[in-house]
Subunit: 175 residues, 2 copies
């Protein structure tokens, strides 16, 4: 039976990244629910298009057991993450990511996903794909310049342009 | 100076296709406006996410001169196009595509875009990329099995997965 996926979308989110996951899940009949990393479910893409997530990340907290996997869809919110890290929705996001890993569930994401995982002590000693600009910023994970890396429960892609390299293995794991 | 692009989004639209164009335009500072091929500007992706276009295609009709290029973002509306062809928004879409071509403007799109062009008598004798299932359905255009084809003012990609092959030339033409 297909696994159920929770998809985190930051605000703003890179629409090309987000929808490469969502359309692939839809076409492969993998159930998913989208959660805005924001105070409200209505967020926007980097490109300025307003879209409606299914819910907000606060409502995913404590309900991690309802899902088999977590996908982190990166976006232009992330370069400013440092100055917004204390906001409740970002704290909720970090708690949710940590809970999924603690429960041994699949974690996937592109761009800055691996840096978030690394900051949370997730994926220690595991190789990851991430944006070239932050390749050396990961401390416990092993930053690579590969397009996509799967190691254990961690599925990472370098940028949204590398998601096609990650999807075959991700879909296989979720079907 | 960057050219201005009108982007047509059918309802439902493939989000991975639509946002590969939009995020690339955004990152390359190419101005664009999105038009829903629908009665209202709020449409949804194949994957079920509600999103807000800037306007509806009816309001693009007659204003083609304000833009330099037209992009057709395909989606699950198209397999049912035949039964909905008479609806005003689809008639407006066809009129808009024809007007852009009549004025010699750039036309781009993936999947069924080339079939729409072909049905309108656009791109006669020109090679096009289009979904493999409809490769033999084009009559005046020359259907190919290439990922992306640029010929004259016609820029086509096979599917949303082939847009990365089309984008470099499309962006060069629009910058």
């Amino acid at each position: 039976m297909a696994k159920k996926v929770a998809v985190l979308a930051v605000n703003p989110v890179n629409g090309a990244g987000l929808f490469q996951y969502l359309e692939a899940f839809f076409e492969n009949e993998i159930p998913y629910k989208t959660f805005a990393v924001a105070d409200a479910a209505q967020i926007r893409t980097n490109s300025g298009v307003s879209l409606q997530a299914d819910d907000v990340v606060a409502n995913l907290k404590g309900k991690e057991d309802e899902y088999d996997a977590l996908v982190f869809a990166c976006g232009d919110a992330m370069p400013k993450f440092g100055e917004n890290a204390g906001k409740p929705f970002n704290q909720d996001m970090l708690a949710v990511i940590k809970a999924f890993d603690d429960k041994g569930k699949l974690l996937a994401g592109h761009c800055a996903a691996a840096l978030l995982f690394d900051n949370l002590g997730i994926g220690m000693g595991k190789r990851v794909a991430l944006h070239p600009f932050i390749q050396s910023a990961v401390k416990g994970c092993i930053g690579t310049d590969e397009k996509a890396v799967v190691e254990g429960n961690i599925y990472t892609a370098q940028t949204e342009n590398a998601i096609p390299s990650l999807l075959p293995e991700l879909l296989k794991a979720l079907k």
